[in-house]
Symmetry: C2
Subunit: 241 residues, 2 copies
Amino acid sequence: MRSPTLNIQPSNCHNCRMSALCLPLTLDSSSLDRLDRVIERGRPIHKNQYIFHGGDQFKAVYAIRSGAVKAFCVSDDGSEQVTGFYLPGEIFGWDGIDNSSHSNTAITLETTALCEIPFARFEEISRTMPILQKHFMRLMAKELTSDQDLIGLLAKSSAEERVASLLLSLSSRLKRQHLSPTRFRLPMSRADIGNYLGLTVETVSRVFSRFQSFDLILCDKKEIEIINLNGLYALTHKPKA
Amino acid sequence: MRSPTLNIQPSNCHNCRMSALCLPLTLDSSSLDRLDRVIERGRPIHKNQYIFHGGDQFKAVYAIRSGAVKAFCVSDDGSEQVTGFYLPGEIFGWDGIDNSSHSNTAITLETTALCEIPFARFEEISRTMPILQKHFMRLMAKELTSDQDLIGLLAKSSAEERVASLLLSLSSRLKRQHLSPTRFRLPMSRADIGNYLGLTVETVSRVFSRFQSFDLILCDKKEIEIINLNGLYALTHKPKA
DNA sequence: ACACAGAATTGATCTAAATCATGCTGGCTC
DNA sequence: GAGCCAGCATGATTTAGATCAATTCTGTGT
């Protein structure tokens, strides 16, 4: 049994400040109650704990209440490819729906609290709640477009653009959670960033240094302060031929 | 009105040899009939016709009966990023579900016949056919994993690996359609390939030449014959440090 | 049949990032 | 506190692929 045991916690979707993100806004109170009963809220789990492994049977998708998660897939030759970083309010684990086993592995990057949404039970109740079904398809579509954004980034951009895009993505996602968009702590290592962006650690490190020397950011190890948000943004729209 | 008018054709899902791919296998005959009545079969449309544009309202997803389609998104600076090539039996257009408008643009690469599946009507009937709903989520998940494969490819691989992977992907998808996996015509230009794989046209061209000189493939313009399938496969699993 | 624009190949040069190498720092255990 | 290891930074060198440039091929329309 690889996935950590999630103990029920005394809270619910009604009072969760994430709910606007992971649930459809238009759910009436009684529908929300029914959904509520399906969702299992876990206690915080430690850093570097696996949520699921590639190949594991697909049983649930997960919403993050706090903390951060990294998803990656392992190819036959053993090399890893980071496919995403997930922050509070975001849902991950869709990759398993296809062949009912996960293609990715998910691991916590720091102490993390999750809500587990068992897929079988979700399917049951969604049969009588079409809006829920639709919402989930929309969440999957969102994942699709975010993957396509990453594809665009990897196919075309320079190292600086890639790092700038990641910083801006994190910033806007934190902002959506009413957290500071300009001062935050990177939950992942430079190596993770490099892997995700298709760059070497050294290149990532150099780009961070360069950004500092251009007064775009301040960074002390994993603590980041964005000084010139527009400057970063300009980098992601680099002057093209 | 940008999308081409699709005229009803005298055929149905029962006798379509694609159905195994785009429909759940377990549908009973009466369910299939109901689905059948929702789907609009178009006459073949010409090369370089748009199916939908980025920003268009999302109304339907499309299954390919014959031909080939390219999907791409346009970023603010006007540059394009090819996000996928679609062959017979495959479904595209999911990208619109999220905010009910398409993020991609889809265009035919050659004369193409489509089935249009209007999403609103699909949602109606799927309410009473849970298996259909599940099937569609699986199709979306498949798209997700294929996007993630592309991410892995772009993040890590050399030009040769990328081109080899594309050729093998096309090959296996044609095989699934009971078409020759070793002799086929590329529906897309070198520029499209380059854009998709994050390479320049020149590099793509050089890789094709190199593959020929290594007796991996024969190619005359867009006509491809794969001589050494295992050799290509070996390239995609390049010896790593 | 001809002209012309776009698609593809091939060659020469340049450059951004990988690779190789070294040192620094901060947390860990013993 | 000494020693050790992982993570990060930074410098020197190499290289794969981009860029620039020129030529040939292909198909399309008149």
